[in-house]
């Protein structure tokens, strides 16, 4: 199989897996209430079925086998042959994870495989000893045999279910224009579903070749008249197949729905104009899907090109200015052309950027699954709530965020949320809440993980800090500074290592990961109330506007989205508090940072410290003392690579276009260094 085809398989499988995860999570919620949703279960079944089919075609027999068992389990569920409970949901989640693991293994190495027996044994165990309930013969029903003939085994089962639940079985007969039948049918189906279930939709021909006839077999709480009333169509052709045997089942229709309801066959007016032009030339092998999958590497390449174009434009613009100064004729026209170029380039940049954006929901859904699993293993009850799942972030940031976020969540579950009995004893609801929220603020996205657990006591942190000799016994630290200790390497408030959080990764690593994304991590906590961990991240790292500054004859870039203002430096206004330089800015203390000292640079002969760049996010800020402000520029940040990635305070390097490469300062990291670890010894 060509590798490109395998890539396609992987992409589609990944999409299916993501959808499965999401749907299973929804199903799990329904499981809590002991209710199943046939449409959802069938959708999940179909996706598992698709994965099995695809994997089989690509010769991935292990994936196909496991997917087959997953499908089998779902098949039993949708056919009502097995009980719907938490045990089943867990098994579904685990098997799905097994399938995911196999597929992601194949992505790196098509030969990858794994022992499937634990999964298979568990499924067999679940399926064993569950005799299927006998179902009535459908032949006795007064249904058009042509309708029975097209029912899949699943649809037959749904029909049985509806019979057992004492629903009216009805056949709605409609005809719709060939041009718009799908939307009209979808509306009708939605309306029917409000009081019932659509079991099968059989298309048929009509005398008018422009029309398609449909027979919709449905189970409903409403009788023929009731359904007509509900659909707002008193003349709709509906056949009664069977009425519930019990007399009290006769239902009346609720108030007719306000939505537009499709016309019935009998009084159908002339076919409506098509909502979109019909494609008369359908003989094409083009794909009809409106979306394409793209390797993120290709988008990176495009972004780099856009960045280089921006640099080239900068050079033209510079030339244009010089020409104007020299009074060259036509430089005005050139200037106008440069403006147009600038605008279009901006549109291009925004466009390419937009393609990279993905909703954080994908990430949150993954986290939900982890919470579920963990809560169970820890024997705690936890409910997850998601807010702002549609907030978009650069795909690469979302990828790199997964691990730190998972660690934060593990901590919240392991150390934050108390076991149910403890919660009950202190008057909290037994089920703990974990809220994942995302929301955009300007060029940043703030992601918050909050729990209603026991919170973090800053005084305990102080004690621990003194014990570990991280702070002096008499150090005067603010609340925030005490919380900052948590992010110090080697700091742990719990002596025994939990299976979940204590995997040798501390919050310091989380902080470094977030810093590597030019992000900032903050913590707020109330003892007994809970903890909020917030991550402030740039929307993208790909291309940014930067302020180019110079310190000790070396140029650096500071991402403009973190620059609040720039000031002339008045040396006299600098004060020293606890050995740290600060200045007063509008009645607030602004800590100063001298990059030359941090990086141990030495100046030749330039005057020191002419300007202060106030950088930061909201109230977390610091003043960076610089020699010169060179101007704004679009830059593409490139990673420094593994060997230099440990250097603190540097986010990467950027090309300025004149064959000059400069370092980009990591404002989030610098703030962390300067503010949160203040007063901490040995940093």
């Amino acid at each position: 199989m060509p590798s490109q085809a395998i890539d396609e398989f992987l992409a589609e499988a990944e999409e299916l897996l993501e959808k499965l995860n999401q749907d299973l999570a929804t199903l799990a919620e329904a499981a809590e209430g002991g209710k199943s949703n046939p449409d959802l279960v069938n959708g999940i079944f179909r996706d598992a079925h698709s994965i099995k089919g695809l994997a089989g075609m690509f010769g991935f027999t292990d994936v196909a086998e496991l997917a087959h068992h997953l499908e089998n389990l779902l098949d039993h569920l949708r056919l009502g042959k097995i009980a719907f409970d938490n045990n089943l949901v867990d098994c579904l989640f685990d098997t799905l994870e097994g399938v995911s693991g196999l597929i992601s293994g194949k992505a790196d190495n098509p030969e990858f495989s794994q022992d499937l027996s634990p999964y298979l044994t568990r499924i067999e165990h679940l399926l064993g000893g569950q005799p299927s309930a006998p179902e009535k013969g459908l032949d006795e029903l007064d249904i058009d045999p042509s309708m029975l003939a097209v029912l899949t085994e699943y649809e037959e089962h749904r029909l049985q279910e509806n019979l057992q639940q004492g629903k009216f079985l009805l056949v709605v007969k409609v005809a719709f224009s060939l041009l718009s039948f799908d939307t009209e049918l979808a509306e009708l189906t939605e309306a029917i579903k409000r009081d019932g279930e659509v079991i099968s939709t059989l298309p048929g021909s009509n005398d008018d070749p422009e029309l398609l006839a449909f027979k919709i077999l449905c189970g409903s709480n409403l009788d023929v008249q009731g359904l007509r009333q509900q659909l707002g169509q008193p003349d709709l052709e509906i056949d009664l197949v069977t009425a519930p045997s019990s007399v009290q089942q006769v239902a009346t229709a609720p108030v007719p729905a306000p939505e537009k309801i499709p016309q019935a066959e009998l009084d159908l007016p002339t076919p409506q104009p098509a909502p979109e032009p019909a494609n008369s030339d359908a003989g094409t092998v083009r794909s009809f899907s409106s979306s394409v999958r793209v390797d993120i590497g290709k988008l990176d390449y495009l972004m780099t090109i856009v960045g280089e174009l921006a640099l080239a434009k900068g050079a033209i613009s510079q030339l244009c200015n010089e020409m104007q100064l020299n009074g060259v004729s036509q430089s005005r026209e050139l200037e106008k052309a440069v403006h147009v170029l600038d605008r279009r380039l901006h549109d291009l940049q925004v466009g390419v950027m937009d393609v990279r954006m993905v909703p954080v929901r994908q990430l949150f859904d993954k986290m939900t699954r982890i919470v579920r699993r963990m809560a169970q293993e820890l024997g705690k009850k936890v409910k997850v709530e998601i807010h702002g799942g549609d907030t978009e972030l650069d795909k690469l940031i979302v990828e790199d965020l997964a691990d730190p976020l998972m660690h934060i969540i593990r901590n919240a579950l392991d150390h934050g949320i108390e076991p149910a009995d403890q919660r009950a004893a202190i008057g909290k609801p037994e089920t703990g809440m974990l809220v994942l929220s995302a929301n955009q603020k300007g060029n940043h996205v703030v992601i918050e993980v909050s729990d209603d657990g026991k919170g973090i006591d800053p005084e305990l942190l102080r004690k621990k800090g003194i014990e570990k000799e991280l702070i002096a016994a008499d150090a005067n630290l603010s609340r925030q500074e005490l919380f900052g200790l948590l992010f110090h390497p080697g700091f742990s408030t719990r002596d025994e290592v939990s299976e979940f959080s204590g995997r040798g990764v501390g919050m310091d690593v989380v902080k470094n990961n977030i810093s590597a994304l030019s992000g900032l991590i903050e913590l707020e906590s109330e003892v007994g109330e809970g903890t909020v961990m917030s991550l402030t991240l740039p929307i993208t790292l790909a291309i940014i506007k930067a302020l180019v500054i110079s310190i000790c004859d070396t140029d650096y870039a500071i991402p403009l989205n973190s620059v609040q203002e720039t000031l002339m430096l008045d040396e006299d206004s600098i004060q020293t508090i606890e050995g740290r330089e600060v200045m007063e800015l509008r009645q607030q203390t602004l800590p100063l940072l001298r990059i030359d000292q941090l990086f141990q640079l030495s100046a030749k002969d330039t005057p020191q410290g002419q300007f202060v760049v106030v950088a930061g996010f909201a109230d977390k800020r610091l003043g960076i003392v610089v020699d010169e402000l060179r101007g704004q520029q679009d830059v593409v940040i490139k990673s420094l690579g593994g060997a230099l990635s440990f250097v603190k305070g540097i986010a990467g390097a950027a090309d300025l276009g004149n064959q000059k490469t400069i370092l980009v300062l990591d404002v989030g990291g610098l703030i962390g260094e300067t503010l949160q670890l203040d007063g901490v010894i040995g940093v």
Binding site: A5, E12, R46, G56, M57, A149, T201, L202, S205, F288
Partner: protein
Amino acid sequence: MKRILVADDSPTMRALIISTLESLDDFELVEAANGFEALRKLPQGKVDLVITDINMPDINGLELVSFVRNNPLYQGTPLIIVSTEGSARDREKGLALGANAYLVKPFQPEELQQLVSQLLN
């Protein structure tokens, strides 16, 4: 030139079927991502063969087969159901409804090629 309609909700599966058939000469392939799209594409030009999956989100493959077999315009059009090995009942039903063949995924490319050549000539 013969036209083949391929209805399957998996884009990868459609691409596979198409690449399998592309080596045979003189075919025009029409893709449908679901049953509704198949219903819409059928009247848009002569279709010489329909290849359909069973499990699709809107109407299932059996319903599509029934539609084709009961419509005077397409009655004689050969039909192949390509589906992952599923319930034996579904398979029986597909053939009873008038599908010419039922191919179980995973299939060998040659199987599909042979079947298509056979049904079209």
